[in-house]
Symmetry: C2
Subunit: 428 residues, 2 copies
């Protein structure tokens, strides 16, 4: 197995001013090749620390990815540190110079000293093309380790890694190390619940197919990873088994969110949706309209936070409010019916709940929510209980509402697990 290590550089990474997402991206991309990073080291823009780490890590690793420090300013010292480490003098690299020049011409910038510096590289290095930015990447072998220097700007790193570096490394890999990954997005099943289902239903789950999870709140990404030489029959069987277990909890196989899936389904059917929101306060509408193309399927949404506005905007009966309270299935049903009538939409989701931290009672504690969803023929209702921080509560409930619409459009008959797991237990 290849030993791949990572050296990140930048004062902003050491001061807590930015969160390092580059190394997450690099780790994931290598994981897709079947390679787990061995170590990652982060240091500020400090020549001594940089050269020390380059030497140390290159002794240990087969491949060392260096990220950051390729820019035009004096803080950017990767090339110089690598020159000192490898004892290869800095020289103007003709290909790099061409690229920097071309980049300047394209933007009508004058080629200045700082940009020229970006073409000043350790002699003997090879250029790694940067399809986006001005800083070329470069690679050199030292201590029998391939050192590859990449830009710190995330879009540049991503393009360079995907287009140039990984395909090259993949070619070097023995075929039996290459992997295939299959992914599903799921709502309403947690990691431990799913693992338990797998253990129970498939106690002999094959070792060759690695089952992995990544929480992308409130969704779960489920990944099956296998070596490319693994039998595709086995792979397909496992994928199909997992799909069978997850069933109607599968939101998408293309990475889409619930909102994106709903917008896509509505677009396919030429149908529209409306929303009437109390406790989510506009978040369901915002998630839908966050998707490009939502204007075809979404005309209007109502945020009816007060009782008065539930009556005035979406015609909730005053007496229903008094008799059952704002957080009741009766009220969300009337909110749904009212907003359908006012907006002429085909589908509707409405919610009313207690996001907290205040407003809970013994009967309806903080975290109680009533949801209605349906169309002009029928509106369904449900009461759920999701005690959590206000923002998580709102996000979870917004996604639950959209998930119920997804299930309705697809004609899913099974009850989602959260109907049982999230039910409000009556006071004994």
């Amino acid at each position: 197995m290849l030993n791949v290590q990572l050296l990140l550089t930048g004062n902003e990474l050491m001061s807590g001013d930015i969160v390092d997402t580059n190394s997450v991206f690099i780790a994931r991309e290598f994981k897709n090749l079947g390679i787990e990073l061995t170590r990652k080291v982060t240091v500020g823009d400090n020549m001594q620390l940089l050269t020390e780490q380059m030497e140390q890590l290159s002794v240990d690793a087969d491949i060392l990815i260096i990220n950051g420090g390729l820019g035009p300013t004096v803080d950017d010292m990767t090339a110089q540190a690598l020159s000192e480490t490898t004892k290869n003098a800095l020289t103007l690299h003709p290909t790099a110079l061409e690229q920097v020049k071309a980049w300047c011409v394209k933007r009508s910038y004058r080629l200045t000293g700082p940009n020229l510096k970006q073409a000043l590289l350790p002699s003997g290095c090879e250029i790694v093309n940067n399809p986006i930015g001005s800083a070329p990447g470069f690679s050199i072998t030292h201590n029998n380790c391939q050192i590859i220097c990449t830009p710190g700007v995330p879009v540049e790193l991503k393009a360079m890694l995907r287009d140039e570096i990984l395909p090259n490394i993949a070619k070097q890999l023995p075929e039996e190390l290459q992997t295939v990954t299959q992914k599903l997005k799921v709502f309403g099943i947690g990691e431990s619940g799913l693992q338990k289902m797998v253990n129970e239903t498939y106690p002999d789950w094959p070792e060759e197919i690695e089952l992995g999870f990544r929480a992308t709140m409130p969704l779960l990404e489920v990944k099956l990873t296998s070596r490319s030489h693994t039998s595709s029959i086995l792979r397909d069987e496992c994928y199909s088994n997992i799909k069978g277990l997850l069933g109607q909890h599968i939101v998408s196989e293309n990475g889409n969110s619930i909102a994106a899936t709903v917008v896509e389904l509505l677009n396919q059917q030429g149908k529209t949706i409306t929303t009437a929101e109390s406790c989510t306060g506009g978040m369901i509408a915002a998630q839908l309209t966050g998707i490009a193309g939502s204007s075809n399927v979404f005309e209007a949404g109502f945020v009816t936070y007060s009782n008065r506005m539930k009556t005035k905007l979406v015609n909730v009966n005053q007496q229903t409010l008094e008799q059952f309270g704002a957080v009741s299935e009766q009220v969300v049903k009337e909110m749904a019916e009212g907003s359908l009538a006012v907006s002429d939409a085909d589908y509707v989701v409405s919610v009313s709940g207690i996001a907290g931290p205040d407003g809970g009672t013994d009967d309806k504690p903080v975290g109680t929510v009533c949801i209605a969803w349906g169309d002009i023929n029928q509106v369904y209702t449900k009461t759920l209980y999701f005690p959590s921080h206000r923002i998580h509560f709102q996000n979870y409930i917004a996604n639950t509402g959209l998930d119920l619409i997804r299930r309705l459009i697809l004609g899913h008959a099974d009850q989602p697990r959260y109907f049982v797991e999230r039910q409000l237990k009556p006071n004994a």
Copy 2:
């Protein structure tokens, strides 16, 4: 200056499954003490790598913070690795055992082997209290370096660091190294713009007062950091100078978002607000209702995505739509007036724009937005231009709308800089 280094452990950090925010928190907290981390190393749950790094980093550092690997499972190997590194045998630590027992009792859990393991620590170590979780922290001196082991669970780490570790380290610091930090949240001025203003207005800005920035999109956090022995007169003068430069662009001095500031101002005045949103699709309402206490100040919001609903819900004149188009100051003015009338609110903000990626024209390219804000006496309008990714556009515009309300409530007369910087240049 103390040399503080960081060793993070966990397979999930190496596989790209999670983003490391712990080290960002640690770095920031140390920065507040005036200490910049020298190096951070991350490795998976691998005994050999762990012991190797503990040895190496402890030779180099004065303080080594180890994060992660304190849990009850076999993956959690920090104590054992530290035992091997320091040659101090693992023994049941009586204080740790008490804490683990108490934690189990409190939760009616049976004390099991895995929990017992959390009290099995290198002999001679000192316990660091964990106010939240079951895993005690511990510290030991090795290679003349104070090694402090902390839990990977973020809330536990934060509590332990703030309550136990940092106060202890602060005590060890010579007083002249301790720092004071003053912070402001700002909207509508960027880092480079502000730095330029400071350079021009205060060319002799004192070295003792460090001016720093942190982007918290779309707001900017401005920080003044100085040693605690710095003259408080100088410190106050600099803070006051920065406040003078930032002027009405200051959103809060307590870390509040614009939405939180608006909800607070409205609560103080006993006033309410309504929203009529097209291109932001509910995000302004969602940001307001994301704040606890918003139900006092927010009764209703309208998401009027289609022209038909602009007319039907908030009484925009059909003819105004035909004559000026949905993205026009005339239409947002009527949206504002209509939603004020329907909701009886005191203040209103309304927006209509082209979020993209489609829908732009030569006159109104993607990124064009019209905003109206005001009260029953007067509604103001403005057209701005913010070409960006759909989600950034929506978030920026939602915050701009709320910022204009903030300025109106506070009676700010100055024009925000974004009126000039974000104006739509007419086609020549």
